[in-house]
């Protein structure tokens, strides 16, 4: 299903949500240009089509977590559609404890100078100024991520205010729709990052699509009441619920993330309806990073071709995979996925 059909609708919603028009008038009165896009000689940047269109180009691709230029180059050579620059891989974040923050600006800039594919980076949930800094240095996509320590337990960033697109995590449909209504241009499953265990991502995708399929059926039956109830329960605009129900999918590109460690994991998530995958610790915490990176790209692109999935799985060895963590062995306060509302 093409997401392009939802773009015009999303554009209308942008001006509608949460009394944004009022805010615009106030900002204009004090001399700010808002909402972006501002046009310059007929060329408009930061528009909805540009922000939501960008993740469409990442479809069927793999975005890999990296911590330095060398890893970023391995990712590019392996055929990644993008890299995510972090200070520490999620596995190490989990081990180190303490406060996890945005990666070093110098490292991110260094990566941007050395590779041609899009560069993303993570900011803490609710941290407007980390996001502002990343936008200024020219990062292509910002992940407002539960892997880092949230600075605002109650609110996410208002992402309509930014020119750069954002991706947010979700565990279920309500959470995804709240993030989209805040201006997220892309959604990913939260999974349980840094565990090498894909079970939570599987759970989140099944819950997400279970709810979407119910809405889709309600829309087909003309059951507007059901859509209205759902919008109220999730505290999101009815229009966004109706759009999701009509498309039978989220109106933005939806990637799988959290615990993907092998080519088979990636193919499984594609089969469950993911548009692409993020691989965090899975590649650079393994003993065979180069082959594994290439194999996961291959399995993601050809997930529906059993021969190629077998070939890609043959490229890696289970002995070299990262050590996994049983989710049941984690204490509730050790879970990253419960961060952010």
């Amino acid at each position: 299903m093409s997401v392009a059909t939802g773009f015009e609708y999303l554009e209308k919603l942008r001006d509608f949500f949460y009394g944004m028009l009022e805010l615009r008038d106030r900002l204009r009165a004090s001399g700010f240009s808002w909402p972006r896009p501002y046009e310059l000689g007929g060329v408009a940047t930061g528009t909805v089509k540009v922000k939501v269109g960008f993740p469409s180009m990442l479809r069927n691709g793999v975005i890999m977590d990296v911590t330095n230029v060398e890893q970023a180059q391995i990712a590019e050579e392996a055929g990644a559609v993008g890299v995510m620059v972090l200070d520490k891989l999620p596995y190490d974040v989990r081990k180190a404890g303490g406060v996890a923050r945005m990666a070093d600006v110098k490292v991110i800039e260094d990566v941007m100078r050395h590779i041609t594919i899009p560069v993303s980076a993570k900011v803490r949930i609710g941290h407007y100024y980390e996001a502002f800094i990343l936008e200024q240095i020219g990062v292509d996509l910002i992940d407002e991520s539960e892997v880092l320590t949230p600075v605002d337990e109650q609110h996410h960033i208002n992402k309509w205010l930014f020119v750069v697109p954002f991706v947010n995590g979700c565990r279920e449909l309500c959470e995804a729709l709240r993030r989209i209504s805040e201006g997220a241009s892309m959604i990913r499953s939260k999974g349980e990052a840094g565990t090498g265990n894909v079970s939570e991502a599987v759970k989140h995708f099944k819950v997400l699509y279970g709810a979407i399929n119910e809405l889709y059926a309600a829309y087909r039956d003309g059951d507007e009441e059901r859509l209205r109830d759902f919008a109220r329960q999730c505290q999101v605009p009815l229009e966004l619920v109706a759009l999701t129900a009509r498309l039978g999918r989220l109106p933005v590109i939806t990637f799988a993330a959290g615990g993907i460690a092998t080519p088979a994991d990636a193919a499984l998530m594609m089969w469950l309806g993911a548009d692409g995958v993020f691989v965090g610790s899975g590649i650079f915490k393994s003993q065979d990073s180069r082959e594994r990176a290439e194999a996961i790209v291959l399995a993601t692109a050809h997930w529906d071709d059993p021969e190629v999935v077998v070939e890609s799985q043959r490229m890696v060895s289970e002995r070299a995979s990262m050590m996994g963590t049983d989710i049941r062995s984690l204490k509730p306060e050790e879970l990253l996925q419960t961060r952010g509302v």
Partner: protein, 207 residues
Amino acid sequence: MSSVRVGVLALQGDVEEHEYAVKRAAEELGVNVDITRVKRVEHLNGLGVLIIPGGESTTIGSLARRNGLIDRLRDLIINGLPTLGTCAGAIFMAKEVRDSVVGETGQSILGVMDIAVVRNAFGRQGESFESDLEIDGIGIVRSVFIRSPAIIRAWGNTRPLASVMHPRLGNVITAAQENNMLTTAFHPELTTTKIHKYLLEVAMGRQ
């Protein structure tokens, strides 16, 4: 009524957006199309039209090389298969490719069309933009440029179809045609069916 077999190179990129656009274009023209996702060499059999989507050109190139698709695609296109390449697709078809930041990329390309492109010419995602574009023989199209390349040179039989007056780069070619080959630096699949209609008309010998 006979139907046109449309292949969309489906290794990576916005394949579904192209499928939707070409389906709608065919409906508007009253033509039957039969859409195939091309991932392996055998999917190329009997194609009347080929579309190379937007995406990451390095990813598409390396997956195509691994699959042995490069030589087959090159033969088919040189022998006249009507082909549309958008953004990454245009990069993939160009004879000369450079990147605006890292310079030489050494990536796998088809190298079939007489154009030179610079990747990420307009800048990073923050500089991505949309604009109204006047396209020769097609009309005005709202166009979305996403980390888009620029066609800096066209030679031989290649005819520039559109250009954009960019505030920073000046006048840049954004669409071009060389016989059966059509390339755009922007993403028509996100906003319009006009380019896909033009492609189908080329395939039916009307353009």
